[in-house]
């Protein structure tokens, strides 16, 4: 199975994890392959986050350079100009051969979105046919127009694109998407295998990810790596803040270290999971003590509130999908909203 998507950050890795775990549960030897990845430098090392997360979650032992043979180590344009497409293709095929050895199933994850890699002959359409895989298109429901883009993609992939999985579907749209599936998509040769509702926990970001981008310091260390689903900026009076804090879910509150009124209040509301204090202003020690007592981490950052928000937004909603809580939720959603049997039937037919 080749997992592709119309847009970046659509949930491909989560789908790969769910497929991998369910297949493993059924006794299959599962492999994971991501032909083209986008790297980022952490210290001196170039890493591909999805590869690390998926491999760790599925407990795979393949060499990371085989699992992801091509990792962008420079901006895409420079990469395009400096590489030889035929060599890249060769590298993909060789690596894939090594990964699939001893496996019953290999889940292949496309790069950012299905069109990426076209210039070097390595977009999802080309990769899926090179590796002879059926394509499962993950469609993040960003707006109604995704339908048109889905049908354009179908034209490109042709027969290979059989399955569609809508992700982050909400509210009344579900009824309409069901009608659409019956009236339009099926006649175009697309089978909708599921509609996964929007889930704030999965969209959430781990505190460690926020911490990394903020480059602050912990005044109160977290007891565990928590998931932040929402950000609130504490610039209002405590009375109005209370309503916001209560409405929020697993949120981090960004406020000045001198706003002891808001800090005390935030510590009182269980939905507030973390405090990010700006301006390098340390709160009175009675409050850090209170936070420690309640197990609410405090990150102190040197920036003003606006800069802090900008930094946080870089990672927000793009968090990794690993970790026990998120994986449990992925499986839960997958099992209740996706027709896994239907996906498997076709795989069996092929096998």
């Amino acid at each position: 199975m080749f997992v592709s998507s119309l847009d970046a950050y659509s949930g491909k890795s989560a789908v790969s994890i769910a497929l991998g775990l369910l297949l493993k549960r059924e006794g299959y030897r599962v492999g994971y392959f991501k032909p083209v990845g986008v790297g980022r430098y952490v210290g001196n090392e170039l890493v591909e986050d999805d590869v690390i997360t998926v491999s760790q979650t599925l407990k795979l032992e393949d060499d990371p350079s085989d699992v992801c043979p091509i990792v962008l180590d420079k901006p895409y344009l420079e990469f395009v100009l400096s590489s030889d497409p035929s060599k890249l293709r060769e590298r993909v095929i060789e690596a894939y051969d090594r990964v699939k050895e001893g496996k019953d199933v290999v889940i292949v994850e496309g790069s950012l979105h299905y069109e990426m890699g076209k210039t070097i002959g390595l977009c999802d359409e080309e990769l899926s046919s090179m590796l002879e895989k059926n394509v499962l298109m993950v469609v993040k429901y960003v707006d109604d127009y995704v339908i048109d883009r889905l049908l354009s993609a179908k034209l490109r992939f042709g027969e290979r694109l059989k399955f569609v999985l809508f992700n982050q579907v909400y509210g009344y749209k579900t009824s309409y998407l069901k009608s659409l599936t019956e009236r339009v998509l099926r006649s175009k040769g697309l089978e909708v295998v599921g509609m996964i509702p929007k889930d704030s926990l999965l969209a959430g970001t781990y505190l460690s990810e926020l911490f990394e981008v903020l480059k602050g310091r912990y005044l109160v260390e977290p007891r565990e790596d928590i998931i932040i689903e929402q950000l609130l900026i504490g610039a209002m009076s405590p009375q109005s803040a209370l309503g916001y804090f209560r409405r929020a879910k697993n949120c981090a509150v960004i406020t000045g270290g001198d706003r002891s009124d808001l800090i005390t209040l935030a510590l009182e509301v269980p939905n507030v999971k973390c405090l990010i204090l700006t301006g390098n202003l340390e709160p009175p020690s009675i409050l850090t003590g209170m936070a420690r007592e309640k197990g609410v981490p405090i990150v102190l950052v040197p920036y003003d509130t606006l800069t802090t928000v900008e930094l946080v937004e870089r990672v927000f909603g793009r968090g990794r999908v690993g970790g026990k809580k998120k994986v449990e939720r992925i499986l839960e959603l997958f099992e209740s909203h996706v027709d896994f049997e239907k996906l498997m039937e076709v795989e069996h037919d092929r096998g």
């Binding site: 707006d143 909400y170 509210g171 009344y172 749209k173 579900t174 009824s175 309409y176 929007k198 009076s237 405590p238 009375q239 209370l242 309503g243 209560r246 409405r247 706003r259 002891s260 009124d261 800090i263 005390t264 209040l265 009182e268 269980p270 939905n271 709160p283 009175p284 020690s285 009675i286 409050l287 850090t288 003590g289 209170m290 420690r292 007592e293």
Partner: protein, 672 residues
């Protein structure tokens, strides 16, 4: 429970030292006059300031009732353990360095030890305690207050020092003084409970920044205020104050509205300044409560008029004299004197004329309290006047205005337990507190009604966020409605409930639906489908929000618009709100508050308290609206907020009130 704390026979000062200026030295000095035994504890000495000194509390050869701990921070836990083993049941920890500096773990250890041995602990980080009736001054204050009938409980130790110093200067006495410190074990509620039975205390004064366990506070304060007045300053009321309080003591910035309401409901008189705290406490001590009808007797017109203004301003009334009072006054006053309230005995009056007038007025059944005002005219003898005032049997406050010339008289009045003010307005204001106290005290608690509600069903409805269904389950009237996920479904629902209908977006993200065009009223059959599309398109285009569907609701006829709300206060619990509805609710803030649970009569009071009540009664020939139906919704909302702690906020807005019945047209809730 706290008798041993205030009436110990044997006291040990742990950390006693001969070094002057040290806390352990000052405490021991303050205990020199104590009517009981005092031991010093310090391994370095065998005697301190003439008291026998032991190396540890355990080595004291007899039972110890109270230990005062003033040792370095690192030794506090060991010392407390040792007190526990010795069987000391009352401990005051003066030492600081606990929660107030973020050291929660150490404070937790402290509490653990107290729990293990059943120790009543005051502090830590406090000034100590005083019982003037047995000369127990277990504080490091340099001032000892005189004996009196006021108990002072304060979260700020430094404030106690200032108050005691000032009170001494003004001859005001205390029965007990407690510095609460961090309130690790004992808090204001425990002390209020104690003062309930304390025969030496007639008035309780509180200074609080944060209130521990608001629900218990209300319960205890209610019981206490029934027998003796409780006057409180709650600081940290404004945003600026709350900020200061939270960094000072980590007190939560709960809503001031909730605190004010809690005070009112539990009979606590709220003072806003130190001056008010004393004025009010002293008047309550001297006058007690009265019926709010004031008589003014003065030798000077100006201050009399000022006092009359103040009477009305502070919610009191000038008493209407009985005819025999007027006759009586006529017989003793010159013909040009004012015989009616305020009584002006004129500037040429001597003490006798003034005193006689007071006597006549005091005998009037309608008069609840008297304000006696004198300015230093050549004819008036203040001492003699003070004698007359003290002979009056009615509640009375004086306003002997002046400086040197009134000094002796004021001293005399003080001795006789009469409070003198230099300003007539301040005198009347202080009296108004006594009246308010009386009003609050006289309120009877009622039984709260039982309701038949399927709580299991409601719990699942809350999970589904089906707010209208939750209201229905509580018997609160709502219009017929349905939620459509498609346009066709909307039409089906509308056909069922009948036309015209109201349609509104259902989305947790859209809070002010009307403001963003996500509500359509008076929709006819032909318009249902296009309206469905229009609403979802508006919501998505302009707001980019997630939409759950569209609510199709029967269009209700307009009634008088009111709003009923609930906000769960972190300290006091559900704070109910009632007010005039409509879009200007946030501007006019014509609202009233109560803390749940409320009875029908409390709900009715809430409704009557707002200015808009007149609208409900009907203006300009309108028929009155069904106030009882609003009362019913209030009581049901109160019950719901008590039954379901997960409901944090609730907003029934608008509620249409008709000549008969009412209907909740829209509802918002925030749940945990």
């Amino acid at each position: 429970m706290l008798k041993g704390l205030f009436e110990p026979e044997v006291v040990a000062v742990i950390g006693a030292t001969p070094k002057e200026g040290k806390v352990g030295n000052t405490i021991l000095r303050n205990l020199k006059d104590f009517n009981g035994k005092v031991y010093a504890v310090n391994p370095k000495y065998s005697e301190v300031l003439g008291f026998k000194c032991y190396p540890s509390v355990e080595s004291i050869p007899e039972r110890v009732d109270l230990a005062i701990v003033a040792v370095p921070l690192k030794s506090v836990l060991n010392v407390l353990e040792s007190c526990g083993r010795k069987g000391v049941k009352n401990v005051v920890v003066i030492t600081a360095g606990f929660k107030e500096v973020g050291n929660y773990d150490l404070e937790k250890e402290l509490v653990k030890i107290c729990k293990r041995y059943g120790i009543n602990l005051v502090g830590p980080n406090c000034l100590g305690i005083i019982n003037t009736h047995n000369n127990l001054n277990a504080t490091f204050s340099r001032v000892s207050p005189p004996k009196g009938r006021i108990a002072l409980v304060s979260q700020s130790g430094a404030l106690i020092l200032a108050l005691m110093d000032w009170a001494r200067l003004n001859g005001i006495g205390f029965s007990k003084v407690v510095s609460l410190g961090n309130k690790a074990v004992l808090n204001e509620n425990d002390f209020m409970e104690f003062f309930l039975e304390d025969e030496h205390t007639d008035v309780v004064m509180l200074y609080l920044e944060g209130i521990e366990d608001g629900r218990r506070f209300m319960k205890v304060a209610r019981r206490l205020s029934k027998v003796k007045p409780v006057v409180a300053i709650k600081s940290g009321k404004t945003d600026a104050g709350a900020k200061a309080a939270s960094s000072h003591t980590g007190s939560l910035a709960g809503s001031y509205e909730a605190c004010k309401t809690a005070f009112k409901q539990s009979g606590v008189v709220e003072a806003n300044s130190i001056e008010e705290l004393f004025d009010c406490s002293l008047v309550l001590l001297s006058v007690g409560d009265f019926n709010g009808e004031v008589a003014i007797v003065t030798n000077s017109g100006g201050p009399g008029v000022m006092a009359s203004d103040a009477v009305e301003f502070f919610g009191l009334k000038l008493a209407k004299f009985e005819s025999r009072t007027i006759e009586g006054l006529k017989s003793i006053l010159p013909p040009i004197a004012n015989l009616y309230n305020p009584v002006d005995v004129l500037g040429d009056a001597d003490a006798e004329r003034f005193g006689e007038a007071l006597k006549v007025v005091a005998e009037d059944e309608n008069v609840g309290a008297i304000v006696a005002i004198l300015t230093p005219t050549a004819q008036i003898d203040f001492i003699k006047s003070a004698e007359y005032v003290s002979s009056i049997k009615k509640p009375i406050v004086t306003c002997f205005m002046g400086g040197e010339s009134v000094k002796g008289a004021v001293e005399l009045l003080k001795k006789r337990g009469i409070v003198n003010f230099t300003d007539p307005v301040r005198a009347v204001k202080a009296l108004s507190f006594a009246y308010k106290y009386g009003l609050m005290r006289s309120k009877e608690e009622e039984m709260h009604e039982e309701m038949d509600v399927d709580t299991e069903l409601v719990r699942s409805l809350i999970k589904e966020r089906a707010w209208f269904e939750v209201l229905k389950a509580y018997g609160i009237p709502v219009p017929p409605y349905g939620i459509a996920r498609t346009a066709e479904e909307a039409l089906e629902i509308a056909d069922k409930i009948g036309y015209p209908v109201a349609m509104k977006i259902v989305s947790p993200e859209v809070i002010h639906k009307t403001d963003v065009g996500c509500v359509k009223l008076n929709v006819g059959r032909d318009e249902v489908i296009p309206t469905f599309y229009e609403l979802v398109k508006r919501a998505e285009d302009f707001l980019n929000v997630e939409v759950d569907g569209v609510m199709v609701q029967k269009m209700m006829p307009m009634g008088k618009e009111v709003i009923i709300g609930m906000k769960r206060d972190p300290n006091f619990g559900p704070l109910l709100m009632f007010g005039l509805g409509g879009i200007y609710v946030e501007v006019f803030k014509d609202v009233s508050f109560r803390i749940a649970p409320i009875s029908r009569s409390m709900a009715l009071e809430m409704v009557k308290e707002v200015k808009a009540y007149k609208l409900l009664k009907g203006v300009r020939g309108e028929k009155p609206s069904d106030v009882q139906s609003v009362v019913d919704v209030l009581v049901r909302v109160s019950k719901m907020s008590m039954d379901f702690e997960e409901i944090l906020e609730m907003d029934l807005n608008p509620v249409f009130v008709y000549e008969k019945g009412c209907c909740v047209v829209d509802v918002k809730m925030v749940v945990r």
